[in-house]
Amino acid sequence: MGWYEKKDKPAIPSEKELWAVCPKCNSHFPKAEWKAAGAICPKCNYHGRLGARARIAATADKDTFEELFAGISYSDHLSFSDATGPYVKKVEATIAKLGEKEAVVTGFCEIMSHPVALGVMDFAFMGGSLGTGTGEKIARLCEEAVRARRPLVLFSASGGARMHEGILSLMQMAKTSAAIARLKEAGLPYISVLTDPTTGGVSASYAMLGDINISEPRALIGFAGRRVIENTIRQKLPADFQSAEYLEKHGFIDRIVERSDMRRFIAKMLEYWGF
C-alpha cells in the first residue's frame, strides 16, 4: 500500500497523518508539501510511487486514454489459502478498496500526439504482483499494439510474481516475454519504464526487455532482495545497490528520466524511430 495515500482519518490526526517520510533519505515533510511536490522528495529527488490512474494522467495527453481489457481480473485456480486466510478474500478486498481489478491498467493513448499502447502497473494492488490476470492483460496489450501498429510503453512497479497464483504466475513471465518478442519482430518499439520498485519476476521478464529501459531517480530495481543477497554472501551491500543510478552505471538502464521530463523523453525517442 502506498504509505502517502492512507485515507482513514481518525478524529485526532496522528504523526503519520500530518507528516510524509521519504523512504530513501528519511526526511519528514508536511503532507501538503509532499503532495504539492508530486510525491517527489524535495530533499533527495526520490520519485515516489504513483497509482496507475495518477501515472496515466501524468503521462497521456489529456482525454486520450482509452482503457482496454478492464474486465480481466485475478484467477484463484489453486484455491489458495495461507495463515491469514483465503487469497480470494484478500484480493477482493484490494479490488473493493482500489477500484482496480488487476495490478496493471492497459489501454491506448497518445503521448505528445504519438499514438502508443500504454500499460501502467499499480504497486498498491497486492504489491504490483504479476498474476495470471496481469500477464494476460500485458500479453493482450502487446497483441493489440501489433494489430494497431502502435509502440508499447510499459511502466512497471512490482515486487515480483504473485505467489498466491502459484506456478501459473511464474508462467506469466514466459508468456509476457513471448508477447514482447512478437511485438519487436513486428517492427514495433518497446519502451520499458522501471519505476520504484521493480523487482523479482517482473524485473526478470518484461520490465528488462525494453528496446530501451528507463527509470526514475532513486527507484529500486533488482532481481533478488537485498536481505537475501546479504544473507547469502555474508557481506553488507553498498547503500546505492539496486538503485536506478547503480543499474545505469552497470549498463542495464539506458537513462534516468525525471518525472517532469518523462512525456518529452518518450515522445522524442518515438520521433527518432519514426513513430
Binding site: G135, A204, I229, T232
Partner: protein, 274 residues
C-alpha cells in the same frame, strides 16, 4: 524428525516430493547426460566475462538425434557443489545457454534441457551483471527459437532461475520433481511469517508433478522407481531417455515455423481463463 512418508514408495505429501527432489543422492545433470547421450562434448563460456559451472552445456547424441544439451548443475561432490554454486546460475550461465542454443538453431540441432536448481544465484555480482536481464532475455529468446526444445524437470524447478531454461515445446517432469514460483520455505516465511510452515506452503502452492500435469504446465510425468530416482538411478534415467526420444521424434515432424507458433500458443494459454 519424521521419516519421509511413502505408500508403496510413492511420495504422499508435497513436502515428501521436495525432500526427494533435493536428495543429494538423486541423479544430477552429469548422470543424466552420461545415461541419455551416447556421446557428449562439453562447451564453455558466455564470450563476455565467464564460464558459469552451474550451467552445463554441450552437444551430444541421443538415439538418432544430435542435440544441444543444457542443464543446471548442482554437483555431486563437495568440490563440484562449490564450483557449480549448488546449481544456482549467474547471468553468465544463462548467456552461455543462449549463445549455444543460437548455434543449435543455426545447424538444426534440437535442444534438450535438464532443470534442477534452487533458483538463480542471489549475489552481488549476479545483480551487477544483470541477473534479471539475463533471465528475461532467456525467456524471450527461447520463446521463438526455431528448433525443437524439450525440457525435463528432473529435481528442483526453482522459480525464474529454472524457467529461464524451461521454455520449450514439450515439458517433461519426473514424478518426484517439484516446480514452483517460490520455495516452500520462502513462501512460508512471507505468507505464514514462519519458515517452519513450509509443508503447508508446499501443499498450497501445488508444486508436484501431478499438480502441474493437472494445471497443464507440464505435458508428461516420467515415473520413478519406488522411493525415488536415487533408489535405482539407471532405471530412472532410462525412463527419462525414452520420454525425451518420444518427444524428439514427435517434434522432428513439425516444421520450424509451426513449432514456434505452437510454442507461443502454449505459453499464451497459461492462465488464459478470461
Amino acid at each position: 524428525m519424521k521419516k519421509t512418508a511413502t505408500a508403496k514408495g510413492r511420495a504422499k505429501t508435497a513436502m515428501d516430493s521436495v525432500k526427494i527432489a533435493r536428495d543429494a543422492k538423486r541423479p544430477h545433470v552429469r548422470d543424466f547426460i552420461a545415461g541419455v547421450c551416447s556421446d557428449f562434448e562439453e562447451l564453455h563460456g558466455d564470450r563476455l566475462v565467464n564460464d558459469d559451472r552451474a550451467m552445463v552445456a554441450g552437444f551430444g547424441t541421443i538415439g538418432r538425434f544430435k542435440a544441444l544439451i543444457l542443464g543446471h548443475n548442482k554437483g555431486s561432490s563437495v568440490e563440484e557443489n562449490v564450483e557449480s554454486n549448488f546449481g544456482m546460475v549467474n547471468p553468465d550461465g544463462y548467456r552461455k545457454a543462449m549463445r549455444l542454443a543460437k548455434l543449435a538453431e543455426r545447424f538444426g540441432n534440437p535442444v534438450v534441457t535438464f532443470v534442477d536448481t534452487p533458483g538463480a544465484y542471489p549475489g552481488r555480482e549476479a545483480e551487477e551483471r544483470g541477473q534479471a536481464e539475463a533471465i528475461a532475455k532467456s525467456l524471450e529468446f527461447f520463446s521463438d527459437l526455431e528448433t525443437p526444445v524439450v525440457v525435463v524437470i528432473t529435481g528442483e524447478g526453482g522459480s525464474g532461475g529454472a524457467l529461464a531454461i524451461a521454455v520449450g515445446d514439450e515439458i517433461l517432469m519426473m514424478e518426484n520433481a517439484v516446480y514452483s514460483v517460490i520455495s516452500p520455505e520462502g513462501c512460508a516465511g512471507i505468507l505464514w511469517r514462519d519458515g517452519a510452515k513450509a509443508p503447508e506452503a508446499a501443499e498450497a502452492l501445488k508444486i508436484t508433478a501431478k499438480d502441474l500435469l493437472a494445471l497443464k504446465v507440464v505435458d508428461k510425468v516420467v515415473k520413478e522407481p519406488a522411493g525415488g530416482a536415487h533408489k535405482n538411478p539407471s532405471a530412472a534415467i532410462a525412463a527419462v531417455k525414452k520420454a525425451i526420444l518420444d518427444s524428439l521424434e514427435r517434434l522432428a515432424k513439425v516444421p520450424a515455423a509451426e513449432l514456434v507458433e505452437k510454442r507461443y500458443a502454449k505459453l499464451r494459454a497459461y492462465g488464459n481463463f478470461y
